[in-house]
């Protein structure tokens, strides 16, 4: 009943909120190069060729703008919008990632529509279905909940329209629910656990007792499972795993179980607003004074929201932190451009979003066509690509980007150099050794056509 109620609620709200649909595109570029997209005579598939026969191509974006992941969804959206702006103007940063890019993608202006998914699969699928039928979308994106990512993966494969995941931490997205038409650039449960696990064992020792707090959907379950598996090798034992529904507000009953579990370490897999509330309430119950807190999958805007220096000394795995600008020149360009446009340092959701679109542009430019099977093959070619976090490449077998994972440690308020200096990057872990074998999680990509 709860779900049904809230679904109707957000459906209405989404209608209320929808923006950006009437993007006034189409007048941008002179004609004359349309032929390029039709260079080879491909059969029609999905929204091809209808979606790319004009002067512009449409991307459907569904991010949560309400609900527990609203804040992270807005940050992610800003990353997408900056990428679109950069792609359309032929920004030097895009050209560094996608050297064949000029203005637009294959000369076509990128336009877009945005819908609020509220992190709910049904809402996201309905909105994307509409973008496909009404706008002939040639690319879909947006998750910020792996439940949404998995649902859109399936839609992508069925409709034969490409999907890039956005924020999605579940192993399933490029594991058992992987599809030929879906791609993910960000880190996930397995790589987070493989990167952060050794740091935790080094810091806290072997044979520890650990309590988990897990949101009750694919992201939570797979991340917790990955950490349990990795830490078991060092003799860490799970004393309790508190599973709560996404969007919980009062965590007291879960936290009492944690408090009475006798654990040494609390690994809190909750994300978004749920992470904020559960950490603040863990403090209320005195748990953070007794147990070491770990946030395995870093949450954008977590530190300023929980406040009170609660994250000082806390370890997390992440996709990106803005101080990486000191290490990667492209990250510096990105952070500067983002901050100039939006007035704050980009969180990893925005970086992830920017990367997804930049990498898509790179794949299409190299394919020389919007024909989906060719774009997919271009992704699967496994080229070395210059990116915001150094050289990366796509793994053809499961469509997961091979990219580094960063371990960050929360700073004490007194250590912060400026008001956004919450985390210190303590380790950069190369991606490939962290990844499972492509078929270990049951990935079968499916057909191109």
């Amino acid at each position: 009943m709860s779900n049904r109620k809230s679904n109707t609620y957000s459906l209405e709200r989404r209608n209320f909120l929808r923006t950006g649909l009437g993007v006034a595109g189409a007048l941008a570029l002179p004609g004359g190069f349309i032929g390029r997209a039709f260079a080879a005579d491909h059969p029609s598939i999905g929204t091809y060729p209808a979606g790319s026969s004009g002067d512009s191509v449409f991307i459907g974006i569904t991010v949560p703008r309400t609900g527990s992941y609203a804040l992270q969804g807005e940050d992610e959206l800003k990353g997408y919008l900056l990428a679109i702006e950069h792609i359309n103007e032929g920004n030097p940063l895009i050209k560094k990632i996608s050297p064949k890019s000029k203005k637009g993608v294959l000369g076509k202006k990128v336009i877009y529509g945005v819908a609020d998914s509220a992190a709910k699969p049904n809402d996201a699928v309905q909105a994307q279905q509409r973008f496909i039928s009404e706008n002939k979308a040639i690319l879909m994106t947006g998750a910020t909940s792996s439940a949404v990512a998995v649902a859109l993966n399936k839609l992508a494969q069925r409709e034969k329209v490409l999907y890039v995941a956005g924020i999605s931490g579940s192993n399933d997205t490029t594991g058992k629910d992987c599809v030929r038409y879906g791609f993910r650039q960000c880190f996930y449960g397995q790589t987070a656990a493989a990167a952060l696990g050794p740091v935790l064992v080094k810091t806290f020792g072997k044979n520890k007792k650990v309590a988990y707090m897990t949101p009750d959907y694919t992201y939570g379950h797979t991340v917790t499972k990955s950490f349990q598996d990795h830490l078991a090798t060092a003799g860490w034992k799970t004393t309790t795993n508190q599973v709560s529904p996404l969007g919980s507000s009062d965590f007291s009953s879960y936290l009492l179980n944690v408090a009475n579990s006798g654990a040494d370490v609390l690994i809190n897999v909750n994300w978004g607003h749920d992470a904020v509330l559960s950490i603040q309430q863990a403090k209320q119950f005195g748990i953070l004074d007794k147990m070491k807190l770990v946030v395995p999958y870093q949450v954008p805007f977590l530190a300023p929201q929980v406040g009170g220096g609660l994250l000082a000394g806390v370890y997390a795995a992440t996709d990106f932190w803005w101080t990486l600008e000191d290490k990667y020149p492209l990250a510096k360009m990105f952070v500067q451009a983002f901050e100039k446009k939006y007035g704050y340092k980009p969180q990893w959701g925005a970086e992830n979003a920017y990367m997804e679109f930049a990498l898509w542009a790179e794949a299409v430019e190299n394919a020389g066509s919007f024909y989906p099977p060719e774009v997919i093959k271009s992704y699967e070619a496994g080229r070395k690509i210059n990116s915001l976090v150094g050289e990366v490449s796509w793994r053809a077998a499961d469509h997961q980007l091979i990219r580094p994972v960063f371990i960050v440690k929360g700073k004490k308020p007194s250590e912060m150099r400026n008001k956004e200096d919450y985390w210190q990057v303590v380790e950069t872990v190369p991606g490939l050794p962290l990844m499972q074998k492509p078929d270990a999680f049951g990935c079968k990509l499916g057909s191109y056509t």
């Binding site: 009953s253 879960y254 009492l256 005195g286």
Partner: protein, 291 residues
Amino acid sequence: MLNWTNFLSQLFNGLVLGALLALISSGLTIIYGTLGLLNLAHGAMFMLGGYAGYVAYHATNSFALAVLAATLFMLVFGILLERLVIRYFYDRPDEDQLLVTFGLSICIVETVRYFFSSMTKTVPPPSMFSGITSMGGVIFPTYRLALIGIVAVALLALYLILYRTRLGLIVRAGIEDSMMVDSLGINVYRVFMIVFGIGAMAAGFAGIVNAPVVSLSPGMGEAILVQTFVVVVIGGVGSFPGAVLGGLIAGEIISLTSMINPAYSYIMLFAAMTLVLVFRPRGLLGKKGRE
């Protein structure tokens, strides 16, 4: 995790959760009972009360003043809302009432989001209630303990208004048969306005006293609204004592189930509601034949 310490902690926690649910639900149930209007904006009013208190807290640095300001603000807000919008819907079909209160809740939530963003806002507990209290092996946040008292006082005040005043008499008569009250020459619409104001005030009060427990965010009313409906259904639609009883039952179900398996907390809550609907459709303390 079954052991005595945890059982006592959870039993206690259920009481705290239940008290809050009772308070929020009582506003919802007296509005429905009197006006016959299912107020889907009740969760949003709970949230708005929290934000009003947040603003007042940062202006005055006093939690007591924040509670007072939020409560009064929501009383006025409720009355204005009733005068400007709600009263035009008393004679309209149920679905119109649902749609308008639903629409209002969207407007309230998004207006708050516009001004305060989705960033979580915190209101610290008053200093005398901060920290942790240890009770023979059971530790509990002091403010949550105090909350039981705070909510009990608020519920008592509501009880006194409803059962010991002339206004309360009219309200309760209105719950039984508003047409009869009207034909006795009592201006029932003025009473409706006041009841809506009191309902909003109860939600707002709950919003601010809950703020030190659960930090504020614009969407926080959505989840609580579903729970309050369950409470009202369990307790009996339109019944104030029913809301209190239903709230306490719901709080204990959530808390005690989580001790065995937290994933089943809400399933058990809805199962309880289903049982009530099957065996006692009017709710535990609801009366037969009530409008």
